[in-house]
Amino acid sequence: MSDAAVREAGSGTSDATRVERAWSVLQGVLDPEVPVLSVCDLGIVRDVQPAAGGGLAVVVTPTYSGCPATEVIAASARAALEAAGLGPVAIETRFAPAWTTDWMSADAREKLRAYGIAPPGRAARERSPEGGAAVPLRFVPRRVSLPEPALACPRCASADTERLSAFGSTACKSLWRCRACGEPFEHFKPI
C-alpha cells in the first residue's frame, strides 16, 4: 500500500468502514502453522471494534491454552492492521467462549483438505478417540477397540485410514496414515 493510501485509510473514514477494512486485512493474515487459513477462517479473531482515539480494539481467543502460535498470530494481526493505516491496535485475549473447531467455515474446511490436512468433524458429536465432546472413558483392550470414526484421506478420499499418533506436529493436529494410497497425513482434531 502506498503512503498516500495509508494516509487516506487512516483518516476521515467512518468507524464502520474502518472495521470493515480491518476484517478484510485480517482475512489476509495467515496462521503460521497452517498457512492456508486466515485468523478469521480459524475463528481466532472474535471481534473488531473502533477504539477511542482512532485505533482499533481486536479481541482474539487462543486455540489451545499452550499454542505457541498465539503470540505470533496476535503480533501479525497487529502488524498487518497498522501497516494498513488502521492502528494503533490494542489486542485483547479472551478465553470465553472457548474456541472450538466448529467455528471453522465450510470454505475453511475445504482449504484444509486441499492443503493435505483432514478437516475436523463436529466437536459436539464426533466420537472418541478424536472427539472433543464429553464421552465416558472406555476401558476396552486395544484388540477389541470400538471402530474409530472413518476419516477420509485428504489426498485420495479413501476411508481406509488409521491413526498413528494422537498428537501431531502441533497441538491442534493428530497423525494418520492412508492404507489405500500409503500416504501419511494430519488431521485437525475436533475440539
Binding site: 487462543p62 491454552s65 499452550g66 478465553f95 464429553a134 472413558l137 476401558f139 486395544r142 498428537f167
Partner: protein
C-alpha cells in the same frame, strides 16, 4: 545481583488458584524432561504437547492469581514473577507432581491420575463465580479430557503388555498411590473457595476420581496398595526433597539475569 524473591499474598482465594496453577506448572516441567527421551517419537511429541497445554493453563491461572492478589489488597504479580521469583514454601502444587519423572510407567500413571483429577476440577470450575476462571476452565477441560484418554490408553497397554511392562506399572502404582490422598485433603483454603463460589472443595472430587481411576487400574490388572497414615503436603507449601531441585532448574535464568527476555 540475583533477583530477590517476591512476597505472595496470604489470601485463601489466591492460594486456591496457586494450587491449580502450580500443579499445572510443575507437572509440565516434569513432562518436559521427556523431550528427546521418550520411548518412541510419537510419545515424545505427545508428552511435550501435553506439557505445552499445561504450561498454557498454568500461565492463565497464575496470571489470574497475580491480579487477584492486587484485588485483595496485596501487591499484584504477573505470571513470570509468580513462576520464577517465588521460594519453595510459596509453591502450592501437589507433591505428586514434583516426584521425579521415573520410568515411562510412572509418567503414564501420574498423567492418568492428574488428567482425571483436572478433568473433574475444570468441569466444576466452569461454573466458578470468577468469570476469568470459568473461561480458563471451559478451554482447559477439553484439553484435560484428551490427556486423560491418552494416558488411560497407555495404562491399559502397559497393564496388558508383557510381564515386564505390567511389573513396571505395578511398581508405579505402589510408588505413587500414597501421594494421591493429598488431592482430596480438606482445609480452610478449600472452605473459603467453596463459600465464595470460586471453586469446589477438592474433597468433593474424590468419588468421581475413584470411579474413573479404580476401574482403569482393575482393567490393567494392577493392585492398589492398602491405605497408609502418610500424607504429603505440597499444596500447603511443605514439599518433598525433590522440589528445590526443580525450582533451581526452572528459575535459574530469571534469578541470575532478572527480567531477561528471549
Amino acid at each position: 545481583m540475583p533477583a530477590a524473591s517476591i512476597d505472595v499474598a496470604r489470601d485463601p482465594h489466591v492460594q486456591y488458584l496457586l494450587r491449580v496453577g502450580d500443579t499445572c506448572l510443575i507437572q509440565a516441567q516434569r513432562l518436559a524432561e521427556w523431550c528427546g527421551h521418550a520411548p518412541v517419537l510419537e510419545e515424545d511429541i505427545a508428552l511435550t504437547n501435553i506439557a505445552l497445554d499445561l504450561v498454557g493453563q498454568a500461565r492463565a491461572v497464575l496470571s489470574r492469581a497475580g491480579r487477584l492478589e492486587g484485588e485483595r489488597g496485596g501487591v499484584p504479580h504477573d505470571e513470570d514473577e509468580l513462576a520464577f521469583l517465588r521460594d519453595e514454601r510459596d509453591f502450592l502444587n501437589l507433591t505428586l507432581t514434583e516426584l521425579p519423572r521415573g520410568d515411562f510407567a510412572v509418567t503414564v500413571l501420574r498423567n492418568a491420575a492428574l488428567a482425571t483429577f483436572f478433568k473433574l476440577l475444570w468441569q466444576r470450575l466452569e461454573s466458578s463465580s470468577d468469570p476469568d476462571v470459568a473461561g480458563i476452565a471451559a478451554k482447559a477441560v477439553k484439553e484435560a479430557r484428551y490427556h486423560q484418554r491418552h494416558a488411560a490408553d497407555w495404562v491399559l497397554r502397559l497393564g496388558g503388555g508383557t510381564d515386564e511392562s505390567r511389573q513396571r506399572l505395578q511398581a508405579a502404582v505402589d510408588h505413587l498411590w500414597p501421594y494421591t490422598p493429598e488431592l482430596f485433603d480438606a482445609d480452610d483454603v478449600d472452605d473459603a473457595a467453596a463459600s465464595s463460589g470460586l471453586g469446589p472443595r477438592w474433597a468433593e472430587l474424590e468419588a468421581g476420581w475413584r470411579a474413573e481411576i479404580e476401574p482403569l487400574l482393575d482393567e490393567a490388572g494392577v493392585k492398589r496398595p492398602p491405605p497408609r497414615a502418610f500424607r504429603s503436603t505440597g499444596k500447603r507449601g511443605v514439599h518433598s526433597e525433590h522440589m528445590g531441585y526443580i525450582l533451581a532448574e526452572m528459575q535459574t535464568l530469571q534469578r541470575s539475569y532478572p527480567g531477561g527476555v528471549w
